[in-house]
């Protein structure tokens, strides 16, 4: 199973995402922003970082990278895409996911281990979790506050498209404690927390994040 990870100028967590895919048992394929070649991968991860220095708005310039034109077309046809942190911001700027991510409520850059509840286990990226499962995964961002119109929020809630929710305390002012969402079809998932940083006890607070990567491999096998 070939899973791609895109490197943009300013990506930070691309090598961690590649490593998480390998640890889950997949073939990790590096992809480059300046090429529109998806190299026959079966799913793609947009990693965390500060692509284009977060200039203009987080993800606003990456959205127009050549690789994104291929990803947007593929995603609209059901191709699985996971955006993590900056990757989530790129997905909202691309309009593959609704809403936007703005400056954290208290303006702090927050870096901590975050308890979360997994609410949607019907996506190819979360199918290995059980609904309502509590996991601990790091967050590390300055602009992670999820905002959407009242209509978009009620659509997300009514259609069960909230994938992850902050448990206990809301760290950043995100509406409805939203930490991750999916599109109507369920193939595109964006999360602010970093599952690729919680894949083994030596380097992370838990191994809870690895399930994102084992889930996609199982989902692809089942197709």
């Amino acid at each position: 199973m070939r899973i791609g990870v895109v490197t943009f100028p300013g990506s930070l967590d691309d090598s961690s995402a590649l490593r998480a895919i390998r640890l889950a048992g997949g073939e990790a394929v590096p992809l480059f922003h300046a090429s529109d070649d998806l190299k026959e991968v079966q799913a793609v991860v947009l990693p965390g970082g500060f692509s284009y220095g977060d200039y203009l708005r987080c993800g606003a310039i990456s959205r127009f990278a050549p690789i994104m034109s291929s990803i947007i077309v593929a995603a609209e046809h059901g191709f699985p895409v996971l955006g993590i942190c900056n990757g989530f911001q790129i997905l909202t700027e691309s309009h593959l996911l609704p809403g936007a991510l703005i400056r954290n409520q208290d303006l702090h850059f927050i870096c901590k281990d975050q308890p979360l509840t997994v609410e949607n286990v019907n996506t190819p990226w979360t199918s290995g979790y059980t609904k309502g499962e509590r996991i601990v995964v790091p967050i590390k961002n300055g602009e992670g506050s999820f905002q959407a119109s009242a209509q978009t929020l009620s659509e997300l809630e009514d259609e069960g498209r909230v994938v992850l929710r902050y448990a206990d305390v809301n760290p950043n002012g995100s509406q409805n404690n939203i930490a991750g969402i999916t599109n109507a079809r369920g193939n595109v998932v964006g999360v602010m927390p970093h599952p690729e940083q919680a894949i083994e006890s030596l380097t992370g607070p838990s191994e809870d994040g690895l399930t994102f990567f084992t889930s996609i491999l199982h989902s692809l096998v089942g197709r």
Partner: protein, 81 residues
């Protein structure tokens, strides 16, 4: 030569933590005039000659597509001589 100005502001219903931080800092310096502060962005785009209607229409498109995020922001296009 003229300058086309694009001003981008967060929509009124979107929380503006930066503006709030500025509003909170003003009284600490003895400035007590502000009821609230909202912070935005200003783009100054220099074009050769007088901007044409076609150019302004293109700037509108760019403002919609790149300079602002219509989900959370509004924009205004003006010409400065």
């Amino acid at each position: 030569m003229a300058t086309i100005i694009v001003e981008v502001m967060l929509k009124p219903e979107i929380l503006d933590p930066q503006g709030q931080a500025v509003a909170a800092a003003l009284p600490r310096l003895g400035f007590n005039f502000a009821q609230s502060v909202r912070q935005g962005k200003r783009f100054e785009i220099v074009v050769a000659g007088e901007p044409t209607h076609a150019q302004l229409a293109e700037v509108e498109q760019a403002a919609e597509k790149l300079l602002s995020n219509p989900v959370i922001e509004t924009y205004v296009v003006k010409v400065e001589k």
